[in-house]
Symmetry: C2
Subunit: 636 residues, 2 copies
């Protein structure tokens, strides 16, 4: 790993209690993980590992994605166990571990779909069949459960499977010089390498990245070997699979959005691990295109449900937005890695935006319903008629990638709050999160207290066993125009510390040192580049990292008849009993009157009447029944 | 027919020369009809009538729609022959007539698909297989060709086919108490009845309308008879087929838009023919819902390509508009019938709007390329990615309903320009159209001279063999706020003549009487009801019946970055060399500057620079290469 990169904090050593992130994490630990287990159980996903399905049997046929859901559920459970003991949960995981062990083939191969349904098709269609994607999720599960419990069973099973994969894929004669159509295993192998220390795991990850998109094209050769027409493919073209160009030559983020961002998370990992500069530069180019041209203000990405994919620069429709929950999660993964490598707050900004908006919107306040697609505007009638997903969260999905992905991210959010380096600690996100670090053998504890993102003030108390000089990096978010820093009650000129989005305080810290950081959070109107044709003439309201929206339940139907005057003041109000406690924003606005009679079109400009509007955090929408919602509000 | 209804003018007696409609008609007669014949020939549509296709043969398999294309092509050719002799064209039709005769089965049945491909499936799936729809189009062809040439061959063939249909469908025991999933035969049978005078043709039309949507449901019974699950159907539900309720009980225009409007055109015909008030009232309700809630400003209808259908009130998206050319044509058919029955200009207004905008946009200026879907805004990249049709007109379509539909409407437009009653002549549309009428044995000729819709003045000269008292109805369009009328050079207080959208002048007319009507045509901003969420904050520009749009070629890309100030003056300019000669509209506007660097979102409201904009008639868009287009322009 390059010398100056940060590492995520150890999850076991971070405690988040209360506050928005703490509450969401608590809901995941208390409800979602159990609910998702029940879903995996009742839909047959877990029992599929018994490999009892046969043609004609009554059992549900194992789908090629199913192992990935098991992987993400185990990973979530492992993070939960790192946070607090739970014997019943651990017992369930151990049961699944036994099933995984039982499902492993003599040569190490492990996949409930292929082993039961189509063993002869194993590794014949990497392009479309998610085989290594499932392997990747199981590897992540294995690493997390090992870290949580020290139990090696799943880890050993997966190491054997990786040996099997490693002996199948590579550049040597007789091996498949290929890679998976749905990336995921790359970043998983890096986690495995960091756990096992076995360099072959790193090399395999690097192989999958190096081989991707090269000529002669693996997917073409593979299709010909199968006797298929290589031009006929699910994704329509190789850019769907990020295989249109070698990874090092890619500059725009293309194709299926989750795949693209899982890939570049893995690419960033490999770049950091190997010091491969062209790879790192590719990551920076991709990030720039992603956040500068193709990202919703919520951190949602992937503009269309047709292919769940990126489309083209500035194409960010609101009502038909796809912005898959998993894609925002993948953006968090990618941004976190870049933040830790480049030590730059711009990555943390994207990570925070996605987390508080496009990710959190994916789960209901009760922790048991999920959005797959996160629209930025909805007329529920339109969503019902035009296909895609309805405008209400669902309990589960046939392709159930998002729910356990949410669970594993939010359960492990402590690793995103803090990073550490050799003699440094970085606070990337603000939350009621206490954490302990070891810097060169010194134990340092940070006690963070805040009502962020509702409140502007963050207080951090340091505990150090002895005097200790190290750098404390406090993130100054990109959205923040004014901030104040006090150390031990004394005002400090914070600006002189700030570089690349962090106030980096180098100091000999004493036990009991207190920091107070105030990040001014005025409600703010934000405008999209006018090339985003969907948002011209409109403003979004934000406050701190939170993007707001108007919902029908607060503002009546026909939200696009509302005009927010340019001068209208935005007023902030914390409502403890609304939507689990949120800060709302109110303003005086106007509403256009509907035409009289049956005049659909008329020469008179619509007249207006006054209306007070109330905006709520976007992540909390659709928790009060079906209704219209908009993020981008007309200005006039 | 109810006593006071008007009838369309006889096409043979109307001559349109020059002007916009004249030019479009000339292009149809000179180019489109021939080009469409070549397409029907080269794709196998015509030769399919030889019934030589067999399973395994190299011949193209006759599609179930193909006969309808032949029908519409013959109908277009017949109208062309009414306008001017064309021996080669007539020879071609006669050849096809022989093929139709040859394709007729001993019992009268006639369908190139079923007779060649699936004779055993004849009349087993009316819901989805367009059998009577094809019959309808062939009936219309038969009537038109008989009227054009007096030749009876096609008419006799179709009368025999109608006998076969008549003996199959009805309420008597052993008959199918059903109707077609794609309406068309209803209005065709009325044309046949008016030609043959045979009341059984009227009765059959009435049967199809009376049976529709009744319980027990024909489509359900039919599906069960086939052994199909009645719930599985192409359209998703019976409203797609306008069979969700008995026709007399329908109040909102639902489902597939072409089907719906063909149906109600036929319903209006039957209501007029039988004096059936509930049927007529249903037509009025449907028209009200259609034009007051579900019609684009262009007269386009059917908001979505998913089912080519109506969606719900006020749902009129621009970029994803479907607004099929055929649907606007069907709207013209329906509106014309209602205009003639109710003698009310509001129907003529809708007819004119659809004709000059949603219909004419369907065909390129060179007469050889067609739009199936008529978007009201396009970003060509979006249309390429999101499926549907591209944003450029095409030479032909697999489902080629629109091209010959355009040809038959525009070839026969003379029948829409004028209507007549017992002692009355109505001028519904203004064009360089001379026409001759017989009113109670008196021959009256109207010579209409105008540059409408570019010029405000219409001059009509009457020729009457002897003094004659009759009513001349001159339409005062709904869009017209100021008009002046001169009779023989003398100003007349026109207002006192105006009722229901027509200035109705009762007078003893003399040979050489001259009328001059001036319809003020200022360029106008039009606003949609604010419940149309896609158009709030935007204005459309219209002038007379013409809806305007901005194209990239005149105004540069990123048309949604343009803001038209509320006070900006719209200036009119006739450009004889542009797009075949059009009046354009210019204004001073502003363009928002794009963000600098990679700031996709920023807190500063976009700054603007001045830009002159130029709007062209919507129907003429996409004749100068691919590019952006918008109808609804941001106002500020």
């Amino acid at each position: 790993m390059s010398k100056s990169s940060w590492s995520p904090a150890e999850l076991k050593r971070v405690r988040i209690e209360g506050g928005l992130l703490g509450e969401r994490q608590r809901m995941i630990l208390r409800r979602s993980i159990d609910q998702q287990y029940q879903q995996c159980k009742s839909t047959g996903r877990i029992d599929a590992l018994k490999l009892q399905w046969k043609s004609g049997s009554d059992l549900p046929k194992p789908h090629e994605f199913w192992d990935s859901d098991i992987g993400k559920w185990i990973e979530s459970a492992a993070y939960a166990l790192m946070i607090e003991p739970n014997a019943e949960l651990e017992r369930r995981v151990d049961e699944v571990a036994d099933l995984l062990e039982g499902a492993q083939q003599p040569d190490g191969y492990l996949n409930s779909h292929f082993s039961a349904v189509a063993p002869e098709k194993r590794f014949t269609n990497l392009r479309d069949q998610h085989e290594l994607y499932c392997a990747g999720h199981l590897i992540e599960a294995a690493v997390a459960y090992f870290q949580a419990t020290g139990k090696r069973k799943i880890l050993d099973v997966l190491c054997r499977y990786v040996d099997c994969i490693d002996s199948t894929f590579g550049t040597e004669p007789g091996m498949k010089n290929g890679y998976d159509g749905h990336e995921e295993i790359e970043l998983a192998l890096i986690k495995l390498w960091k756990t096992t220390g076995d360099v072959k795991h790193l090399k395999l990850a690097k192989h999958f990245i190096d081989a991707r998109g090269k000529q002669p094209h693996f997917f073409t050769q593979e299709a010909i070997s199968r006797g298929d027409d290589p031009k006929k493919m699910w994704g329509g073209g190789y850019e769907y699979y990020q295989a249109h160009l070698p990874v090092r030559e890619q500059s725009t983020v293309e194709g299926h959005s989750v795949r693209a961002l899982y890939l570049f998370a893995g690419v960033a990992d490999v770049a950091a691990a190997t010091g491969d500069k062209p790879l790192l530069k590719a990551c920076r180019r991709i990030f720039k295109n992603l956040t500068g041209r193709r990202m919703y203000i919520t951190g949602g990405v992937g503009s269309t449900r047709h292919g769940e994919r990126f489309t083209y620069d500035f194409d960010l429709p609101n009502e038909s937005a796809y912005a898959e929950t998993c894609a925002s999660i993948a953006l968090v993964f990618f941004a976190q890695r870049m933040m830790n490598i480049d030590r730059d707050g711009k990555y943390a900004d994207a990570m925070e935006t996605a987390l508080y908006n496009g990710v959190l919107s994916g789960i209901s306040l009760d922790g048991e319903k999920y959005f797959y697609a996160n629209y930025l505007a909805t007329d529920p009638k339109w969503h019902r008629l035009e296909g895609g997903y309805p405008a209400e969260r669902q309990g589960w999905f046939g392709c159930a990638c998002c729910p356990p992905n949410l669970a594993r991210l939010i359960a492990s959010i402590g690793m995103y709050v803090y990073s550490t380096g050799e003699d440094e600690i970085a606070v990337n996100l603000y939350a009621n999160a206490s954490a302990t670090f070891e810097l060169k053998g010194n134990r340092i504890t940070l006690e963070q207290r805040t009502d962020y993102p509702w409140d502007e003030t963050v207080r951090i108390k340091l505990s150090v066993a002895e005097l200790k000089s190290f750098t404390l990096h406090l993130r100054i978010p990109g959205w923040c125009r004014k901030y104040k820093l006090k150390i031990n009650g004394k005002k400090t000129n914070a600006k002189r510390f700030v570089k690349n989005g962090y106030a980096s305080i180098i100091r000999t810290w004493r036990d009991g040192d207190r920091i107070e950081l105030t990040l001014a959070m005025p409600p703010t109107r934000v405008y999209a580049d006018p090339r985003v044709r969907h948002n011209t003439g409109r403003a979004a309201i934000t406050r701190g990292p939170i993007v707001y929206c108007l919902e029908q339940s607060d503002n009546r139907a026909h939200l696009n008849a509302i005009v927010l005057p340019e001068k209208s003041k935005l007023r902030v109000n914390y409502e403890s009993r609304l939507l689990g406690g949120v800060t709302t924003i109110r303003a005086k606005a106007a509403r256009e009157k509907f035409n009289k009679g049956d005049k659909l079109y008329q020469e008179r400009r619509p007249q207006t009447v006054g209306q007070s509007i109330k905006a709520i955090p976007y992540y909390a929408w659709a928790n009060r029944g079906e209704g219209e919602m908009i993020v981008w509000i007309r200005e006039g």
